[in-house]
Subunit: 275 residues, 2 copies
């Protein structure tokens, strides 16, 4: 597995360095040679979105995606309708920001079966795909780890995401692959190949699974400090035809307490050595 | 889905009422009409195992299984050898206790790939199957939730357990199905059918997934207080030909702090109403 030659494919999510506002993140990423940024919607609060997009481009940062839309699954019809509206808004924000992709955390409702949640997710994506098409923004289904099957996503394997994306069959629907969610899956290599062959492999998120993991959400590790074979998975992703950004997405109470400049240095070192 | 008519298929794991020693658990289970007990090995510490088995039978309790063997996966060869020895010991203990089954938590080593761990698991089970056969004890592979893929088990879906059990192809190897680990899997119904058809469906463990879950190991819920469709899964298990005990296996710091007699009452009520 080849080493990354430079930082030209390194993208960092704004949430990874959450203590920085988006202006600080952009300046620091850019000064360190990072070439991509994925913007979480909370980072845009109180800002003019078009101007913020221009600010990021002025720092020579590619705006890889907007995180996140989704949460389509609700037993309550009114909540499903509100989710459709919110996803249309996310698509608009992505277009204003100037990014070609909105990542979907699809949702799940513990008050109903996973099957019902899945149907509502597919219906929800279908409902907003015309808006995505009109805006030129791709919606990417992110399968989430099964430990989030209760409330965050009823799409928990790449096979399920592949099934759904193939069924929806739109150039405006793709898949975001995150090693944290999928590393354990014995079918991962096979399903990545299928994902690439069908033109659905649109995003690649990296981090690591710490041993032990002390929090189900906010204890992700930097590449190399856990048990995920990130390099091997990257080789599968690239063999499947993906040559886009490697997006570092780390939620970590521990790292958010650190000096974010030091965290950024660690990420860049780990990107070169362990991803 | 039919209600349970009585408690004749209700089994409780000793760890569910951990504050009770095995003598207290046996007396209380028996007095409440519970008909089965699964014994965790720590509950046998400092006791004569044969006499303890007799004590349980004197309370008219079926000894459903011994928990647990396994942990076959280690990068270090000496640790793999020690695991084989420990599993032989567990088989001996099961025979002394007078239970026909040892549940396997198969293990995983974060220092190596899941694929390597899986191979070592299969080799380990094969290595001790002759001992199981000689003792008349069945080894049951328990697929564990993917959130335990780092250290507890590299077998994380029923499909994987089915593959392995079919490959090992021994009447002394079967599968233990636990709703906590498998409820999220879109292939669960299909794989349960396969498991039954191949004669591998040997045990059924129940509890619930609390929303939110605050600890990755020790925050399991009682049936009905979470999002697992326990009744529906039981209907699939029974349709696959299983008619054995429903084993209540709950690890919960919260419930272990309660009066265990109250916990037992809650479990019996939930067994009737929500499982």
């Amino acid at each position: 597995m080849a080493e990354h030659k430079d930082l030209s494919k390194l993208c960092i999510h704004t949430i990874t360095t959450k203590p920085w506002n988006i202006e600080e993140a952009a300046r620091n990423f850019s000064e360190s040679g990072v070439k991509g940024i994925t913007v979480w919607r909370d980072a845009l609060e109180g800002r003019n979105i078009k101007q913020t997009g221009q600010m990021l481009r002025d720092y020579d940062l590619s705006i890889v995606s907007l995180c996140r839309g989704g949460f389509f699954a609700h037993k309550d019809l009114n909540k499903r309708k509100a989710a459709i509206d919110d996803n249309k808004k996310a698509i608009e924000e992505a277009a204003e920001l100037g990014t070609p992709m909105v990542v979907l955390v699809c949702g799940a409702d513990p008050l109903q079966s996973p099957e019902d949640s899945r149907k509502q997710i597919q219906d929800g994506i279908a409902a907003v795909t015309p808006d995505a098409s009109a805006a030129g923004v791709k919606l990417t289904i992110e399968p989430l780890h099964p430990m989030y099957a209760d409330t965050r996503s009823a799409i928990n394997t790449l096979a399920q995401a592949n099934d759904m994306a193939e069924d929806l069959n739109s150039e405006w629907v793709g898949i975001a692959v995150d090693v944290y969610h999928l590393w354990w899956d014995p079918n991962l290599e096979k399903e990545l190949k299928r994902c690439g062959e069908n033109g659905n492999l649109a995003a690649f998120h990296i981090c690591d699974w710490k041993v032990p993991t002390t929090d189900m959400l906010l204890d992700r590790g930097i590449m190399g400090e856990g048990c995920i074979p990130v390099k091997k998975i990257r080789s599968w992703v690239e063999a499947a035809g993906f040559n886009g950004f490697n997006e570092v997405e780390i939620f970590s109470n521990a790292y958010w307490k650190e000096d974010q400049s030091e965290l950024l240095k660690k990420i860049i070192k780990a990107y070169k050595e362990s991803s």
